[in-house]
Symmetry: C2
Subunit: 192 residues, 2 copies
């Protein structure tokens, strides 16, 4: 999230569970990872499917309530999701936005900080380069988190967003240890 | 909404209050109109403004809670809003979608049916032709609903959506009286 601060840098060391979300109007992927020291592990993942025949309000309710239930069950410390820079067309952007809106609402209503990363950042964190295919992400997420059973592509994307955030947190924590006075340039408060 | 049915046609005669919503990531307009027999009157209107500096989750919370409060306070029988066919670009469609998503969620969580009309249908219902300007809509809504104080453009747009739905309901109710067996062609259930 834009509003990263000293507080979130301190929290980075403490935070344990991250909920990754991959919102979609038909299928919303989700995944929880846990980080302890330098180890990262898979807690749970899945998808919230909304039957195509349902009215859009009912679908959004299902996504919202589904995420609420996941938050209540797994107590994540933060939410990570992919930034959206472009979409196929305004119609699909609108529908994606509607699903994304209720996901962000569920996070906000539970006082969870939201972290957003570009698709490139997420793929780089998981596969090692920014232009990996969906299948490569799926494979690498499963391998990285030692998940042997087949996971849905949307759940893998959600886990990838969560993994990306954990990597970033770990990186920042190490930086803070090495150079406590260091601040990323982008975080400097500009004088008005 | 697409799923209009006999039930909603029957409800049309009973329903009294319609909440119009004009969602936006910065300003969400809302307006309640009441219809008794052939008369339509203004109940309340306003805007939910979300300061630009807030995080998007906090903004979406504000919109969601604002609409929840309006529903609790005014007990509308249904929600009317503009269909979105295009947007300036995918980024603005995404942001509009997020605001729209939480508005639709608030309606769904309160078991309110949602009715959507195109911009042309709304303008035609209020001004008489589909290409009216924002100012013309604002003026005609104020005149139609006998509101003398100045209203925000977004509130006027929300009221216009509500007025459009009331007109449609009244039209359908009259049709039902005149020809009880008549059904609009678009509602006929197609055989698969």
């Amino acid at each position: 999230m834009g509003g990263a601060s000293d507080r979130s840098a301190r929290r980075a060391v403490v935070a344990r569970r991250i909920l990754g979300i991959d919102p979609g109007s038909l299928v919303t992927g989700w995944g929880i990872v846990e980080s302890i020291e330098n180890a990262i592990s898979h807690v749970a993942c899945g998808t919230i499917a909304t039957a195509g025949a349902q009215a859009q309000g009912a679908r959004l309710s299902r996504i919202y309530r589904g995420i609420q239930q996941i938050i209540v069950r797994y107590h994540p410390d933060g939410v990570s999701l992919e930034k959206v820079f472009f979409a196929r067309n305004p119609q699909s952007a609108l529908k994606l936005g509607q699903a994304r809106g209720v996901a962000l609402l569920a996070a906000a209503e539970n006082q969870l900080d939201v972290y957003e990363y570009s698709s490139n950042e997420i793929k780089s964190a998981v596969v090692g380069y920014g232009h990996a295919t969906k299948e490569q992400v799926q494979k690498m997420v499963a391998s990285l988190l030692h998940v042997s059973e087949k996971m849905a592509a949307d759940a893998a994307d959600a886990l990838a967003a969560a993994v990306c955030h954990v990597h970033r947190q770990a990186f920042q924590a190490r930086l803070m240890e090495a150079a406590p006075d260091w601040r990323p340039a982008m975080r400097r408060r500009r004088s008005p």
